[in-house]
């Protein structure tokens, strides 16, 4: 039986530069792989796939597809413990955000984010607040919720290229 040779990982040397051009992404170059981020990460303690240090190394090496298509990318809780503890002042959580933003540009978008963006676009709020809630507010003596200016909010979403995040 012949064994199939392992596929070599495709390396894109321009990938790290693409990351570093984004806001907060420039700190990627300072990562020297000490692992403080992973050892501080709450998710990493319970997830077998998410390791911030590994993600940063993959990005530095130029493993574009592997990095952007990784499900683990979406497991960062944005607690910013890694960022606060990094001895190299790498904006770890923000680099993760840059990578997720880039995944979206490559049409990788977990469905929950389409829901959230569509809710904001249609109602101003991240969740669709049911009629019952408005009634309960009244009963509890709370002031009515202001009606959001959805025209302006939609415009901002469109101007910032967020339209692809809306549910069709």
């Amino acid at each position: 039986m012949t064994e199939k040779a392992a596929e070599p990982a495709r390396v894109d040397p321009s990938f790290k530069h693409e990351v570093m051009r984004e806001h907060d992404g420039e700190t990627l170059k300072a990562c020297f792989q000490c692992g403080t981020c992973t050892s501080s990460c709450p998710t990493a303690r319970f997830s077998s796939s998410y390791r911030p240090r590994t993600v940063l190394r993959m990005a530095q090496l130029g493993l574009r597809e592997k990095t952007l298509s990784s499900n683990a990318l979406w497991l960062c809780t944005a607690c910013f413990t890694c960022t606060d503890r990094c001895p190299q002042n790498v904006e770890v959580a923000s680099v993760l955000r840059v990578l997720r933003n880039l995944a979206v540009k490559n049409d990788i978008i977990p469905i929950i984010y389409k829901e959230l963006t569509s809710n904001i676009n249609d109602t101003g709020y991240a969740y669709r607040i049911p009629e019952l809630r408005h009634k309960k507010r009244e009963e509890a003596g709370l002031p009515p919720l202001p009606k959001a200016n959805c025209v302006d909010i939609s415009k901002l979403i469109e101007l910032t290229h967020g339209s692809k995040l809306l549910k069709k």
Binding site: E22, H23, P42, T43, F46, S47, W74, L75, C76, T77, A78, C79, F80, T81, T83, D84, A93, R97, V98, R100, N101, V104, I109, P110, I112, Y113, L116, T117, I120, G124, Y125, A126, Y127, I129, R133, K136, R137, A140, G141, L142, P143, L145, P146, K147, A148, N149, D152, I153, K155, L156, I157, L159, T160, H161, G162, L165
Partner: protein, 299 residues
């Protein structure tokens, strides 16, 4: 951080965010009860939108623009913002600071805001409730408002990551060893117990991505708090509150364990110490039964 001198320190626009009106009325009800008693005047925030935090992972500039729109609304009102949610606090505070300091970024975001006839000018400040209570109201005033000290109560705090992190934007308290919320809790007469991994995340932000990881994080925290014998947990964020109060029965079912740990908003704890009753503070809206602590307080 000092508020601008030309603004009355006691007048704030209340930024409610989305999670509170969606699911956590009890936080708002109790905050609106206690704040006026501390001389804080609450002004309603006009036609605000989501702070932007939930969509930052998918589009950073959209988040900054949405966040900045809220800041512009407050600038028009010439009022500083107070938030009850730590997520709203971290996002609005961060956007405010970044746009004030980074000219290029401000230009980019103002370019978007121009499309809706707005401009970020950088004239207001944003604080979370805890920071406002500590820095603007002051501990003396809070102490003075306590009528019924909760002397027999032992609680544990959870201040939530976004109250203090990223630290370069919060510039307040110590994210590794938080003590401001503890200090505020002890003003009520209750004892605030230390426990393991106090500054750890609740897990809320990934609940829709990987529920198991999220519930495990919250469960671990409940264990640490139970281990030190706290009778209740105190939160200052609607999302953290949802993880520990609403999801508590789910965690119990998933892991075959029992916690029965009441989870109160800080404003409810303070309200009890100020002499408000359980109904006025919407205690019955909490999922985990609070009769155990009411018994302690009555004894």
């Amino acid at each position: 951080m000092r508020m601008n001198d030309d603004m009355a320190d006691s007048k704030y626009l209340l930024f409610l965010g989305c999670t509170i009106p969606y699911r956590v009325n009890s936080y708002e009800v109790s905050a609106r009860k206690v704040l006026p008693k501390l001389g804080v005047e609450i002004i309603e925030m006009p036609d605000f939108n989501c702070c932007g935090l939930p969509v930052d992972p998918v589009n950073h500039e959209m988040t900054l623009a949405l966040s900045a729109r809220n800041l512009c609304l407050a600038e028009q009102q010439k009022l500083n913002i107070v938030t009850l949610c730590t997520g709203c606090a971290t996002t609005l505070r961060k956007t405010n600071k970044m746009l004030k300091e980074d000219k290029k970024l401000r230009q980019t975001i103002n370019g978007y805001l121009k499309g809706i006839g707005m401009e970020f000018k950088g004239t207001i400040e944003v604080k979370h409730l805890v920071q406002m209570l500590k820095e603007d109201v002051g501990t003396e005033k809070i102490k003075g408002a306590v009528q019924k000290p909760l002397t027999d109560l032992k609680v544990a705090e959870h201040c939530g990551c976004h109250l203090l992190r990223p630290h370069k934007f919060s510039g307040f308290d110590d994210a590794e060893d938080p003590h401001v919320l503890k200090e505020l809790i002890e003003l009520t007469g209750a004892k605030c117990l230390d426990y393991a991994d106090e500054a750890e995340c609740c897990g809320y932000t990934v609940v829709a991505i990987d529920e198991k990881v999220s519930l495990q994080l919250a469960r671990e925290k409940l264990h640490h708090i139970n281990d030190v014998g706290a009778q209740a947990m105190i939160t200052v964020c609607p999302s953290c509150h949802l993880m520990f109060d609403m999801q508590q029965s789910r965690i119990e079912r998933a892991f075959g364990e029992n916690f029965n740990l009441p989870v109160l908003h800080y404003t409810q704890l303070l309200g009890l110490a100020m002499g408000f009753n359980a109904e006025e503070l919407a205690l019955k809206e909490l999922r985990v039964d609070t009769s155990s602590i009411m018994k302690v307080l009555k004894a």
